[in-house]
Symmetry: C2
């Protein structure tokens, strides 16, 4: 058995260690350190600046939950934008919805896309050529600022609020996202752990809530992310993501998401609900 | 900043590390290694055989979720048994329900009770003297075998299915629990992580289902337990824990549990639902 370990410093006082078979790839891109390792527990793992972005074996949770909640809350999601998400997992889920006519991926770091195509063929499956998918290697905030009432759904699949992802947690960015959405558009952003990142939620939730008439937080269990519990914040101009009819939802090939879970994900633990209320 | 770390081997290939201030207590009891450490992230932490049992800062999730779901599913839970749970957190939650007349704690290892009273005064608050609480330092399986139609609710707050806790995952034990329950009784057992302990769930769920007419699995997010997602299996003779009226539920002072979350906890990710269906 291999004696090599990858260790993530999840907080200053918590470490997450995975036994590894091999380091498959390591480079310094224009934006960040990028590595691909092969772990015994979770299969291949994508690291950016030494933080776990995704793994072969639990990627389905994050990618299904960042996409299908908004996609199934919108009655006609024809044009969809994914910001970040260079591994391709989120946009792979987006194009499972037949109503989608165009899905744009806007990733700032082209090397994430290239490494994902090479080392994560199942996650990146739609990046190697899909009739509905357009790939832009570009700055997400610049892109949304150029777009007006263009998209039905925008998914903010960012990395942590440090490094190149930091700008994706600002009011300026969320306002630009709102402007780039059609008058009945919906956005979702990943908003970190309700156990370890409480201040972020207490800041970002009211910011999104000041821009979108309907703002709600929902949760999913991601074992390779710090604390295992992850939050997503949805900002919607018209459709309430909790008031969807489970009977009418698109039936999807998923491992985590179900129509019942869509609704249940908004039933927050009391301490998380308080975070969204500024307590 | 302290350079000392406690590291739990969560699986053969996964480690969870916590920076520690101090080791407060360490002993070998008749049943297991018992230690209390002071961690920077999670406060004081109780370890049995080097596995995290509970911590000051996230204990509320486990203790509220193992108790209130069953307690609020039973219209009149007067007599309640907790098997294991020597730290006292579960029985502390049980006696929040005013209908309870007697709550019995049956813990095999008296040293767990003593260490908890000393180092976890908030968790063990009702162990130092409470008019409704009776403490037995005894073998849980023996105790339930001596009881016939005695309890309204039995909560199996076991440690891992190794060491002294192993017998608490057998058909023989669950049958004895059923016999010790009144004809409308309810039991709950902690049944480990749906990510790391899939075979256990695939074995234990059908076992409980062969004994109880209503068997359901529900989930809670416990950041200091392996994978951060934990399962509980409820076996009920009469009351369906999903068919409770949220309006009629007892209003409780909680940090995690809410009546909405009670229902939502049964909305399982698709892969977890499949585990309960033997897939």
């Amino acid at each position: 058995m291999s004696g090599m370990w990858f260790t993530e410093e999840q907080t200053a006082n918590i470490r997450f260690g995975c036994r590894i078979r091999d380091i498959l790839h390591s480079e310094k891109t224009d934006f960040q350190d990028l590595a691909v390792i092969d772990t015994l527990q979770w299969g291949r793992m994508l690291l950016l600046d030494n933080l776990v972005m995704t793994t072969d074996k639990d990627e389905f949770v994050y990618h299904e939950m960042i996409s299908h909640v908004a996609m199934n809350s919108h009655p006609n999601p024809q044009k969809v934008l994914v910001i970040g998400g260079g591994d391709g997992g989120t946009i792979r889920e987006v194009v499972k919805h037949e109503k989608v006519e165009k899905a744009v991926l806007c990733e700032i770091d082209g090397q994430v896309i290239e490494a994902s195509k090479k080392y994560f063929p199942e996650i990146a499956s739609v990046l190697t050529g899909h009739p509905k998918v357009e790939i832009l290697v570009a700055d997400g905030i610049k892109h949304v600022k150029e777009m007006k009432e263009e998209y039905d759904v925008i998914l903010v699949d960012s990395s942590e609020p440090i490094g190149p992802g930091a700008v994706l947690f600002t009011a300026e960015f969320y306002q630009a996202v709102s402007d780039a959405l059609k008058p009945d558009g919906i956005m979702v952003a990943q908003t970190e752990s309700p156990f370890y990142n409480q201040e972020l939620i207490q800041t970002v939730f009211p910011t999104i809530n000041s821009i979108f008439p309907i703002t709600k937080l929902y949760l999913a269990s991601i074992p390779t992310y710090p604390s295992g519990l992850w939050s997503f914040t949805i900002g919607s101009k018209k459709y309430d993501p909790e008031q969807v009819n489970a009977e009418e939802m698109v039936d999807l090939d998923t491992k985590y998401y179900t129509p019942s879970l869509h609704k249940a994900a908004f039933a927050l633990p009391r301490f998380v609900r308080k975070l969204t209320e500024g307590k």
